[in-house]
Amino acid sequence: MPETLTILLSAIFVNNFVVVQFLGLCPFMGASQKMTSAIGMAAATTFVLTLASAVSFIIEHTILLPLNLEYLRIITFIVVIAVLVQFTEVVIRATQPILHQVLGIFLPLITTNCAVLGVALINVRQNQSFIDAIILGLGAALGFSLLIVIFSAIRLKQESYRIPQPFQGAAINMISAGLISLAFLGFTGMNT
């Protein structure tokens, strides 16, 4: 149990996928303008990431390895992720139509969120057990959610600040993201 807890906490804080491993930066920047869209994005990504790491583990160990089809790993995982994203989109469209409008193109783009494929491939590389694979997926998703909500709050507060012209827009967002990344560097080396 402590082992699983370590994996979870390390995925959230120490090896955070967004600001330490720099995966999944596109939705992190794109869907954090508003708190509602940030939370919606976080929930959708959590769902997809956790399920994708579970399903990709099952496919890897029941189909790909026994049949010696490891070379099809990436394309198979992408298909699985795309299907999960599509399913999430159908569910959100039916239950939260306004959120669906707000997230717009970023919802289908979870497919190309490198964090999702990254977790699936890291699970294979590190030879995790089934539970650990899911926990790593969940930890990565929670880390992503934490970061996108923090970043959205910072952007909300920035709206009332006077930002010098050259720094307005994307520039100040990049700087803020870099500063958050620096803060998370403080966790380095704590996963023992």
Binding site: L72, T76, V79, V90, T95, P97, I98, H100, Y161
Partner: protein, 298 residues
Amino acid sequence: MTSIILAVLLLGGLALFTGLLLQISAAHLSADDSDVINAINELLPQSQCAQCGFAGCRPYAEAVAEGESINRCPPGGTVLIANLAGLLNRPELPLAEELTAIDQPVSAVIGENDCIGCSLCVKACPVDAIIGAPQLMHTIVQLDCTGCGLCLPPCPVDCIDLIPVSHSNTAKLLPDFDIPCIHCSECMQACPRELAPQQLFLAANNATLAEQLRLSDCIECGLCDRSCPSELPLTRTFHVMKHNNKILSEERAMALRFEKKYARHEQRLAGSASQVANRPKPSEAEELLDALRNQLNP
């Protein structure tokens, strides 16, 4: 060879299986856009002017939900475009080029000396703001006029003019300041009504949030201004916010009225059209007369 067949089988099977699952889930969870359409429709000015190229405000709201551009409403102007961009998370655009911006609210007025009583404008008005019988002079109920200009083209003597509404309130600009809020919370301790002036100040462009923070409880005493180390124009900002929120709620009430009148107008048109369609035809006249005679002399 076997490995190729295996690979094809695996990918094909996976695609087929997951595709089926997706189809089933999509069939069970039908997409419902009515919430989005309602939210968009609530922001539109409900002038029913059809300048956007759609029959009315609601059809335009439906089109926007389907992906139509948000910059096609001249009466809504830049404020509406900003609101829609915020709601739908789309980029703010200037008004579409082929449309002319409406700088100030207008209202139609009939030149009553020239009116010949043709009643063509009565039919054209989407919100039934024009009153008057055929062959008699018409006039426009100013309170109901949305200034859409739809009555202008049908008028054969060009006696209708669009004039600026003189009594209309305009939104004031928020005061300018040099040093931003440093979140020191001094103003919260100074406020005699126990409000949170700094949060209110940051909610200057968000009417609902400002109301949640009890903006209407502010008595504009000016104590927060004196405690602020950045010398922010707090009280003046709150005054402008209250003024603008009042205008906003008045506009909302008007829009609701226009929407209801337009719905009634459409209903009436549909009703009279169906009456005309269901009128007895000349060929059925004999049968109807026979039926009546039978009723009278059984």
